[in-house]
């Protein structure tokens, strides 16, 4: 890539934060609606030392990770079955596409009725939304393994295990990491929506509360915190993805 592209990109980000700092100061936007960047950062710093915020971060993180730990294996197993068994695939694939098109958030009240406003409800709802994404991606991953790749290995007498480790896994790896990354975005969103809709704890709950009470520096601090966490996770998987996908240029 040409050198000036990242340079201009960095500049654009810098300009964004500079505008954020200057516009409220200069009165170009209402400081009551948009606190300055420096004020948001110092608010965030203060919030991070409060036990209530720390507990919320911990709970949200637990919800996100647990939902992820449920959705990934369940979605993967279902996706592989759909992709591997042509009959099950032919029967259920269209149905799954119908269900996939439905916005999952409309089921949130159902989850509250079943699980109550609880930790379990957040995890269940996020896992539910994420499973569909994982299922679709897993099926696509398996189908991305070219028939020829399998034929070649089988013609040389590869065992099922060799097929899995030597053909399926390396062939799917770049797409698999991409799928995990996208699943995490859905998963995080699921937890946030559930927390903001109805909750007693969690970052989403805090953000919703700050918004309702017009505590703008806190609200933006929360947004900043979540953005940083999401970007860090996303980028670490993306770096792995790039490492394993150098051959994907074909």
């Amino acid at each position: 890539m040409r050198l000036w592209i990242p340079a201009i990109r960095a500049l654009a980000v810098l300009v964004f934060f500079a505008c954020w700092e200057l516009f409220p100061r200069l009165g170009l936007v209402n400081p009551a609606l948009l606190p300055t960047f420096s004020e948001v950062v110092s608010t965030l710093w203060g919030l991070l030392s409060r036990p209530k915020v720390q507990d919320s971060i911990f709970i949200t993180a637990a919800e996100v990770l647990l939902a992820f730990a449920v959705a990934i294996p369940v979605g993967t197993i279902l996706g592989v079955i759909i992709a591997e068994n042509q009959y099950i695939g032919a029967i259920f694939r269209p149905i799954l596409f119908y269900v996939f098109s439905i916005p999952k958030s409309i089921f949130l009240p159902m989850f509250i009725l079943v699980f109550g406003i609880s930790f379990t409800q957040k995890v269940a709802y996020a896992a539910f939304t994420t499973t569909f994404v994982v299922l679709m991606s897993a099926a696509a991953c398996v189908e991305s393994v070219k028939e020829e790749f399998l034929l070649v290995a089988r013609s040389y007498g590869a065992t099922r295990m060799q097929l899995l480790m030597r053909v399926y896994l390396p062939s799917m790896l770049p797409m698999l990491l991409e799928a995990i990354r996208i699943a995490m975005i859905f998963n995080f969103t699921g937890v946030m929506i559930a927390e903001m809709y109805a909750s007693r704890t969690g970052i989403g709950h805090l953000i919703a509360g700050w918004g309702e009470n017009f505590q703008m520096p806190q609200l933006f601090a929360g947004i900043l915190l979540l953005s940083i966490i999401a970007i860090i996770f996303n980028e670490s998987i993306r770096i792995l993805e790039e490492r394993f996908s150098t051959w994907r240029t074909t």
Binding site: Y87, E148, F149, L151, V152, S155, Y156, G157, S171, T250
Partner: protein, 264 residues
């Protein structure tokens, strides 16, 4: 069929089929892909099976490789049935793009050896030798996407030869190449074949390629695939590009074309 095969199993035949039939059962229902295929391939011969697209040539090759089982009839490879893939008897060169893009040329060629559980250093050594044989010195550490179409198929051939099987099956290996590369590769293949004394079964839908490469050509009709002709190609070896302009070449090509046209 003029040369009907009536003799019993023989070890002189690298491949032999009797009444071979294949019915494909899929979600869409049953399709008869092959019907009553009787053919023999003598050891050391270069035999080409030619036919229109969808005539079941690939099905036939899959059965010869032990990758698919016949619905009825018999198939013997070196006197024994192929009820599962057996790389010690048969190596397969697939249609283009069957190389593993995450492996280098050497690793791709060594792949069959590593599946067999060979020593890693010995496998790499053998892979390098095979790459040298197909004229790819200096490209050992390249990835497939760094190689041209012709080079990729050279790697595929090297991979097919890696386990040193007596029979090499080739499924339209040059179909995706441009005309010039295809001619060069055909010529190269004959050179490699003459130095390795393998039995080759080569599938194509190109009549020129068939006549240029083959000792014998089996002609197949469209679905269900049947053998409709068996042609001996009596052109001398080594084959040269000039032979394609000869009357004999033209007549052989014309005869196969007539058969395929009438077989529709």
């Amino acid at each position: 069929m003029e040369n009907d095969v009536t003799s019993g199993p023989s070890r002189d035949y690298a491949l032999q089929t009797k009444g071979l039939t294949h019915i494909y059962r899929g979600v869409q229902g049953e399709v008869q892909a092959l019907s009553d295929i009787n053919l023999v391939v003598e050891a050391g011969k270069f035999v080409v099976i030619v036919g229109p697209s969808g005539c079941g040539k690939t099905s036939l090759l899959m059965m010869m490789a032990g990758l698919r089982q016949q619905t009825s009839g018999e198939l013997l490879c070196l006197g024994r049935p192929m009820d599962k893939p057996d790389p010690s008897r048969v190596g397969v060169v697939f249609q283009e793009a069957s190389l593993y893009p995450w492996l280098t040329a050497t690793e791709n060629v060594a792949f069959p050896l590593s599946i067999r559980g060979d020593d890693k250093a010995a496998s790499r050594q053998r892979a390098r030798e095979m790459l040298a044989l197909v004229g790819l010195n200096g490209f050992e550490e390249r990835f497939p996407h760094e190689l041209s179409g012709g080079m990729k198929q050279r790697v595929s051939i090297a991979r097919g030869l890696a386990q040193d099987p007596p029979v090499l099956l080739m499924d339209e290996p040059f179909a995706a190449l441009d005309e010039q590369t295809r001619m060069t590769m055909g010529h190269e293949l004959l050179r490699i074949w003459s130095t390795t004394s393998k039995t080759v079964v080569f599938i194509t839908h190109s009549l020129t390629e068939a006549v240029y490469l083959a000792d014998e050509v089996y002609v197949m009709s469209a679905r269900p695939g049947r053998l409709i002709d068996h042609v001996e190609v009596n052109l001398p070896r080594p084959r040269t590009y000039e032979m394609m302009a000869t009357e004999q070449f033209g007549m052989l090509r014309e005869r196969i074309w007539q058969q395929i046209r009438m077989g529709h």
